[in-house]
Amino acid sequence: MKNLLKINIAFIFVIAAFTSCNNAKSSNGKSGALASNVAEKVYVAPGEHDEFYAFLSGGYSGNLTVYGLPSGRMFKEIPVFSQFPTSGYGYSEETKPMLNTSHGFIPWGDSHHPDISQTNGEIDGRFIFINENNTPRIAKIDLRTFETTEIIEVPNSAGNHSSSFVTENTEYVVAGTRFSIPIPQRDMPIKDYKGNFQGALSFISVAPETGNMDIKFQILMPGFNYDLSHPGRGKSHGWFFFTTYNTEEASTLLEVNASQNDKDFIAAINWKKIEAYVNNGGGTMMPANYAHNVYDEETHTATSTMKKEVRVVNPSEVPGAVYFLPTPKSPHGCDVDPSGEYIVGNGKLSANLTVHSFTKMLDAIENKKFAGEAYGIPILNFEDVLAGSVEQPGLGPLHTEFDGKGNAYTTFFISSEVVKWKLGTWEVLDRQPTFYSVGHLTIPGGNSSKPQGKYMFAMNKITKDRYLPTGPELEHSAQLYDISGDKMELLLDFPTHGEPHYAAAMRADLIKERSQKIYNLEDNKHPYAAKTDADTKVVRKGNEVHIYMTTIRSHFSPDNIEGVKVGDKVYFHITNLEQDFDVPHGFAMIGQNSSELLVMPGQTKTSVWEPKQVGVWPFYCTDFCSALHQEMQGYVRVSAVDSDTPLKWSLGEDIE
């Protein structure tokens, strides 16, 4: 009887569930209808593609992650400054040189501000650059392969934070120092900072065709902290703007001591003028030591070269090239609107947002209206360059982006919101909360003359309750807003990886069309490549054993190797003979003191193994490659040091 009752209840429950489903569409509930509308806006049906790529820096992961918008799905983590066992980046012999620096091999980095290359002020999707903050470096990622192909160390720099922003034809990727230091480095009392330390702003040229980077010159500025920067564009092309804080030049307790001045500066640099000076032999070559690491796509191998000098320029050598624009109060973000007229100084301790006018700045310079000078650099009058202020828009402004329709969007860390305001009238149009404590925000096409509007996403520093809890450590959260209407509309939360300080985003089509599917085996010029089965071999050179090995679904060739001895250094050079899209093979050797390798079609990668024990040791493919993936394995026989086991290798000798 009791059971019968339960059956009845259950039945009613089932009926109710079905009925309520049928009624969902005709529901009048406001939140329900709105919610489904929002869901449609971020829904990308299975098998369909997102409209935008978003590249989010990984912060202390040292890498760059690739997302799709509006879905918020993560597609890839691109290893840049950190070792990445998933692919073997920074572990394989070919990629270890990528992480070489003047301090030796560094397995980790702190990546901050990605920026996509531009042509004529528009995002072109060829390369993406990103800075390493801790051991100053700039990396270039090729967006055909989504691989890091070049890393250049930045000498005379420390805390490479006001980086890595490109000029409107990618003439330069610019890297400014956050921490000032003695230049050249020397043993001196810290308390003598003031007047003795300097801050280097580095202009790294980018070759138009290849994208090869080279430090063209460094400007040695007074010992302030250069926090963020952006290029001029359109009418202000040829200039670069940097926010500064700690104009007090404090070396201790900056929390208090660097917040004394009512105004700090935005440094305006006429780089075209300095470039011309340098092209005419100006500046001084000073001794330096920095690594330049280049990955060659044909040899699939990186080389690291130590460079021994760098060209430096003191602002006093080039009169009229550098000016200071007073800006309240410890400004953080330094953002230039799409027209190039407005320079927004996001004074993080200021109640108002300060916007400078490029036209007024030129006018003040023309009329020599200077309020004074700092270390020989003219200071303009705040009132002379001010275009306007956004009055009390929120607490703790950090960064501003633009939609290309005359509106600006600024993040406020303390009041945890994004505020939309109008350029020119400075009126606040809308505000939306973020969850929680937003840092950067991104609009696709951000740092360019043609932002691609439609979406904006906020990258938040604090996550707390936004997702299922995962213990004390939480991934940072991002929020996607629709900005196509008058009011911003929150569409989606999505978790990020590491700490995304900034992101670059753009419409997908340009990148998608050029995305490479395989590496041509024919173009593989790796010195240890085995491009056909006939090239496979094992070569002993003293205690080094080089194994030229191939992979194809689903076997290694050779897969039986004998004659290796304890104490040998065994190099597995693995060439993936596949020429089909998305057929990588992996390689893992028992007891390997590095990581596995993930080898793309047509690629060669090398892993070193130093066997310590006699025995017969297996290796296998780590990437599920076919129905016979589990069969993709092999053995290495390791004999004693003094044994005379002959070197032999084979594949399928016992196949009839």
Binding site: N3, K6, I7, I9, A10, F11, F13, V14, I518, L521, E522, K531, T532, D533, A534, T550, I552, R553, S554, H555, S557, L577, E578, Q579, D580, V583, S626, A627, L628, G652, I655, E656
Partner: protein, 167 residues
Amino acid sequence: MKRTLKLMTVLFVTLLLSCGGKEEKKKEAISFGKKEAPVKVEVPKETQVPASKRVDLTNKGIGPITSITLDAVIDQKMATHGADVYKKMCTACHRADKKFIGPAPTGILERRTPEWVMNMILNPDEMVKKDPLAKALLMEFNGSPMANQNLSEEDARAVLEYFRTLK
């Protein structure tokens, strides 16, 4: 409570079944029970001859190649190029005169149409899914897939010419 859950599950399943699930269930029962029998009845002779030895000179396969005319005389220049392509792209799995990971190409044109051979090179993924011979070959060779090595039609044609030289 546990019991209630069980009952509810039963109810749900019954509900699902009543929505046209019954017929499917019947089919499954048959195919599980008698899977091998109909195969044997339908093609009793072919199952005895392995797919690699079967002769089918009409099947052109599935793919970009619909019609090929072979000249009476072998184009030596093309065959030499084909041998080179074969060495680079195919020898990881094929030996000219013996079974390796995949079947040997010697004498292939006595068993297959030239179109079938080229489609197998150019379009292996679809071939092993849809073409009856390619499907049977995949099974005969233990599920080892024919890799798509992204050859151009020209290179695949040259490989075919090279196969003509293998006796």
